[in-house]
């Protein structure tokens, strides 16, 4: 457990160092699911996030329990109007307790590289908008032995974002064709089964009631439903409750992920997830 805290501390120092070099932040989207937001051409968005997960089983179907810390990094670059390239990179620390002993592993997770195209945009009011984007990505086997499924997995998806006054509504779907498997699957898509993710979100702007000239700090409540369905029959539905705070130069988010329903044979059942992140645009 001590190594987990050392890992977390190292990640925090890296995050603070990164934040000190970046000036401006972006953008309104839910914490745990994709949205149809893109940086403008020539701009980067960077979303570092800490994620903690607690499982009531050990990976690989063994008796026991597991905890996992991840330092997740999402970078997107606007290559042209309505087009963006993105990469997801994570560092993982996992503690597994089984009757046979404890195991603590750390390392790189697989990397996801992709392209996103916003194919529809209807800005129907000063702040009101409906946007839809399609994306294609490849999960690359860059992870360490315990955290990679050793093959290139393609996935494709679609996401929508609607802003209606103080309400933000998002929906997304992604299908991943899985051609390899980790030794001990933890997340949907880690095993040798295709993975369909369906997600819906609602953000409500708690304050301000209306924007004043010059911009204000905006505070949103977040509710997300996250469904994961695999072709091996495993299925899970999580609810995520959180808060997003946006100011003209920074954004911060936190989210608690709780299982609603789980029917899992190939991967461990989740007890709790916590996400804490920030967002930058530069």
């Amino acid at each position: 457990m001590q190594s987990s805290f050392q890992f977390l501390r190292a990640c925090a120092i890296g995050l603070i160092a990164a934040a000190s070099t970046i000036q401006v932040a972006a953008a309104q989207q839910p914490t745990n699911s994709p949205s149809a937001t893109l940086p403008g051409p020539g701009l980067f968005t960077y979303r570092p996030m800490f994620r903690f997960d607690k499982f009531s089983d050990a990976p690989g179907g063994a008796d026991g329990k597991a905890e996992r810390f991840r330092f997740m990094n999402h970078v997107m670059y606007g290559v042209a109007p309505e087009w963006g390239l993105f990469a997801d990179l994570s560092f993982v620390d996992r503690d597994v307790e089984t009757p046979g002993g404890d195991d603590d592993e750390s390392g790189l997770g697989d990397t996801r590289l992709g392209v996103s195209h916003r194919f529809y945009r209807n800005d129907f009011g000063p702040i009101e908008t409906f946007r839809a984007a399609a994306n294609f990505s490849l999960r690359m086997p860059t992870g360490d032995e315990e955290f990679t499924n050793d093959t290139v997995n393609p996935s494709f998806g679609i996401s929508t974002t609607t802003i209606l006054g103080r309400h933000g509504i998002g929906s997304s779907a992604r299908y991943e064709i899985t051609t390899g498997a980790t030794d001990s699957p933890v997340d949907a898509g880690d095993g040798l089964a295709d993975h369909l993710m369906l997600a819906g979100s609602h953000l409500y702007r708690i304050r301000p009631e209306s924007y004043a000239e010059g911009g204000n700090v905006a505070v949103y409540s977040q509710v997300e439903l996250l469904g994961h369905f695999e072709t091996n029959g495993d299925a899970s539905l999580d609810a995520a409750l959180g808060v997003l705070v946006e100011a003209p130069r920074w954004a911060a988010e936190c989210s608690v992920i709780l299982p609603v329903a789980q029917d899992l044979d190939e991967r461990p059942e989740s007890e709790l997830g916590l996400a804490l992140g920030v967002r930058f645009l530069f």
């Binding site: 401006v24 972006a26 953008a27 309104q28 937001t37 893109l38 940086p39 403008g40 051409p41 020539g42 701009l43 109007p81 309505e82 945009r121 209807n122 800005d123 129907f124 009011g125 000063p126 702040i127 009101e128 908008t129 409906f130 839809a132 929508t160 609607t162 802003i163 209606l164 933000g168 509504i169 998002g170 929906s171 779907a173 369906l198 997600a199 819906g200 924007y211 004043a212 000239e213 010059g214 911009g215 204000n216 905006a218 439903l225 469904g227 369905f229 029959g233 299925a235 899970s236 539905l237 946006e246 100011a247 003209p248 130069r249 954004a251 609603v260 329903a261 029917d263 967002r279 645009l281």
Partner: protein, 124 residues
Amino acid sequence: MKSIFLIAALVGAVLPGCASQPGTDSHDHLASQPAASAVAENMDERLNTGLNEARVNGLSCPLCAESLSAVMGRVEGVESVKLDLDRGVVIISITKPAPTREQVASAIADAGFTFVSFLERDGG
């Protein structure tokens, strides 16, 4: 298992329904703006130096709108950009050589927002 798929189906059915609601422009917001009036557009005309205002749709949040400031800042002659999210108005400070209206409108579109019109500032 069936209940999971049922909930997922409900999520899938409800959210696109919400998303498809906005089909028409909401002109109520635009009609109530007191400080400026729309100017007949000649997009090849250069903007006046000093402060100019443009009505822009889709400025959905403080951080999304920062992207607009960054992209518009690259246009020659754009000195600074300020956003009035409540009115959906971008206030642009212009210096010489002043850009054309078309250049500014294109930058707004490139940033991912919808240019509506330039506004004439009261007393300007």
